[in-house]
Each structure stands twice: as C-alpha cells, then as structure tokens.
C-alpha cells in the first residue's frame, strides 16, 4: 500500500476533494426502456441467430446499439431487433409432450431407407 500512497502524491488529479456527496435526485430513469432481443445473420450465414439482448427506447436506437454491442468483430451483415414482449415461446415444462410426436417418426430421415449400392441417384 505504501508504494501506492507515495505515487499518489505525485498525481495531482487525485489530490482533489475526497468527499462524495451522492446526489440522490435521479438514480432511476423516469421511464424504463423496453427489452429487445437481438438476432444477427453473419456474412456466410443463412439464418439470423439470437446473440443477446439490450434495452433501448425505440427500434432505431435498438439497431444502433445492437451494432455497437454485437458486431464489433464483423459478426454480421444483418440485424433484427424484436421487442422481447412480442416473442412467444414454448414452455420448457411442455418440452416432453410438445416434441414427443417426432421421437417415433424416424422414417422422416432418408437414412431410415437403405438403398442397394447398384442403384444410383436415390
């Protein structure tokens, strides 16, 4: 700690008034911004992928902020933002019942039907 204190005395910006009077007036926003879910399609991608969420006051700000937060490394060429409130999702609790019908229909996959080797183009 002592080496820090010695150094501090050399940095004039830190010699200022240490008293913090936290002004309690506005620590809450007057109106909460809606939550948006962000979907990005990459340059080589076919579909938009969900990458995360953010709060923004309107759609234009949501797209701009999504660009700043989620595409800093060339992740995408297209951004969708959707209000989280507009998304309807299946319930995790219903997972088993909802997806059960496809469990027993393995004949929907081509691999269910072995073809003779001599037969081409099937």
């Amino acid at each position: 700690m002592l080496s820090w204190l010695k150094m501090l005395s050399m940095d004039s910006r830190l010699r200022g008034n240490d008293e913090v009077t936290i002004n309690k007036q506005e620590t809450t926003m007057s109106k909460e911004w809606p939550l948006w879910e962000v979907f990005i399609r990459s340059q080589h991608g076919l579909a938009h992928k969900h990458v995360g969420s953010l709060h923004a006051p309107d759609a234009a700000m949501a797209v701009n902020n999504a660009r700043d937060v989620y595409t800093r490394r060339n992740e995408g060429v297209s951004i969708w933002v959707v209000k989280a409130a507009d998304i309807v999702a299946s319930s995790p609790g219903d997972k088993d019942a909802l997806f059960e019908p496809s469990n027993s229909k393995v004949y929907r996959h081509p691999t269910f039907f072995p073809m003779p080797e001599e037969v081409k183009n099937l």
Partner: protein, 329 residues
C-alpha cells in the same frame, strides 16, 4: 475475482435434510449437469446468490473502464490509442451481457445501478487502484485480464444458462485484452532502460493486487462450499490463484522482469510455484472503501449517470413523440 466474497445468505451448506422436495429435485438437476434457465424453478438463495455475483461482475466491467480511460489521451501511438479504445468498448459490452444475464433473474437495470451508485453493491477490488504510467495499461491487460480469463473459463460451464453463455462470449473477447497488455509489456521491457524500469515498476505495483483479486482462501467458507454445490463456483480461490501464478511467472521471465516476491520459488514436488504471504489487510481495507481510488471511482460513475440524464430523457421523449405521430397518422 470480479465477483469476490459473494454471499449466499446461508449459514451452512444445505444437505438433503435441509432441503424441501423441490430443492432436492433442483439439486438433482444441478448434479446431473442440467443447465438452469430463467423460467425454471430455483431456490430463492440460488437466485439471490446469482444476482449478487452476476451484478458484481457487471459493475466490475463498467468501473473497470475507468483506470484505462485515464490513459486514452496519453497513449504513445495512435494505434495503441485505438486498440485501448477497442478494449474499453469491449468492457462496456461485457457489462451489458452481464447486466442482461442478471436481469433474467428478476431484477431491473435501475435496481442494479441504484445499488452501485449508493455504494451498496460491490465491484472487484482491483479497480480501486490508480493507473500511474502507460506501463500500468500493459500490466492491467496482462495480469488483470489474464486473471479474469482464468476465473471466467470455468464459469462458461456454470449451472445458470444465461451466465454461462455470457461468459463464453466474454472469454472470446478477453483473449485480445490479455495479449494487448502483454504486447505493451514486451515493447517496454525490450526498449530503453527507462522503459524497462517503467514496466518493472508497473509489475511491482499490480502483482499483489492481482493475486488478491481471486479472494481469500476459501477452504473454510460456507458461501464458497454452497456455491460449489450449486455448480456456480467450480474451483476454489486458491486453485485459481495458483493457476495464475504458474502461468504468469514464465511470462514475466520472458520479459526479463522480476516478480516482486522474494518467496517465489518453484516447488518440484508440487509441480507448482510456492509464493509469499498475501497481505489480506490491504484487501479488506480496499473492500471497505479505503483503497487509493474507491471514492473517485464511485463519484465518477455517479457523475456520469447524473450528467447523462438529459440524454436518456431526450431519447425517451423522442421515442414517445414518434410513437404518438404514428398513432395519430
């Protein structure tokens, strides 16, 4: 780490006897390695522990921008300035991913920021130290982000889905931070005698605080044990700290700099470095609010929030105005 000494609110690690049927079922899912998602049932203590941990982590990212922001106008080259700005932008992004993850647990951004600004919420001890030279920027990227990576990689496998996924994204970006720091250190260490001395001085000041980041030994900690049981915490503070030392000492040797620890010694039997005693009184003092920069950090954040109010309000006013126009049309 970024989240230190996280309270679970429990006095002892919960055994089957302590848990309700619901809690036992939940624990069984944890033990089976099933990811817990926002809409799943979870014990109140699990939820609260995660809110504390994730929000502390988020606050750390945001406050962590400040020590580095100090040197943006004084970076030695335009390229290094642009790179430092990119790192700071990343920290803002990391804060956002983490606030978003915390919000899935039923808290609002307002509540979290209110707690930070009122001095009620914690952030990592490390960000209460000042950056006194350009070499500090190198030391921070190398040692602080380096330590963060060691802590965050296991978190990618933690039991809470949104936190784990946020960590995966963060880890991808964090590697650039560590390299950026080491790149600065290399340039300085291989430069003039004055530059090398500046690098050594930065290492001298950031080494011990970086080791303290991992938190005190938690062999006796109920909070750590319960967090482990919930698979939030996968390794002990001591294990992670040892990992950091073992990885970093060879890096310092390559730079030709000396680690400021006379007790640092390779232990052939353990296959690890033995290192000196940490002064935990300094750590506790910093957490209490008496570190070199605690008050300045908080004051800066509160000022930024208050002075930005007009902008946030204008955005809302504009949005409302546009919406009203559309409704009328």
């Amino acid at each position: 780490m970024y989240a230190q000494l996280v309270e679970t609110g429990l006095k002892k690690v919960q055994t089957d006897a302590d848990m309700s049927a619901e809690e036992q079922a939940f624990q069984a899912r944890i033990d089976a390695g099933i990811r817990i998602e926002p809409k799943d049932w979870m014990p109140d203590a699990y939820r609260k522990t995660l809110v504390r941990q994730i929000s502390q982590h988020a606050h750390s990212e945001i406050v962590g921008q400040l020590p580095e922001g100090n040197w943006v106008t004084r970076a030695p080259t335009l390229k290094r300035k642009a790179i430092l700005l990119a790192k700071i932008q990343d920290e803002a992004g990391h804060g956002l991913y983490l606030y978003s993850a915390a919000e899935t647990l039923g808290v609002s951004r307002d509540e979290l920021l209110e707690a930070l600004h009122a001095g009620k919420a914690k952030y990592s001890s490390i960000f209460n130290y000042p950056t006194l030279s350009w070499a500090d920027i190198g030391a921070i990227g190398w040692l602080v982000d380096g330590s963060a990576i060691i802590n965050q990689i296991p978190l990618c496998r933690c039991s809470y889905g949104p936190y784990a996924r946020a960590m995966i994204r963060v880890c991808k970006e964090e590697s650039f931070h560590a390299r950026q720091g080491y790149d600065i250190m290399m340039k300085l260490a291989q430069g003039s005698p004055e530059q090398k001395a500046m690098a050594q001085d930065a290492l001298n000041r950031w080494w011990w605080p970086s080791l303290m980041m991992f938190g005190p030994s938690d062999a006796e900690s109920v909070n750590s044990a319960q967090s482990s049981k919930w698979r939030i915490k996968l390794f002990s503070n001591d294990e992670l700290r040892q990992r950091m030392v073992d990885q970093t000492v060879p890096q310092a040797e390559f730079l030709g700099l000396s680690v400021p620890d006379p007790d640092l010694k390779w232990n052939e039997e353990r296959g690890s470095y033995d290192f000196g005693e940490i002064d935990w009184s300094e750590f506790n003092n910093v957490l209490k609010g008496n570190g070199p920069c605690n008050r300045e950090r908080l004051r800066t954040r509160v000022t930024a929030w208050e002075e930005g109010a007009w902008f946030r309000e204008a955005l809302v006013a504009h949005a409302d105005k546009q919406a009203a126009k559309e409704a009328a049309a």
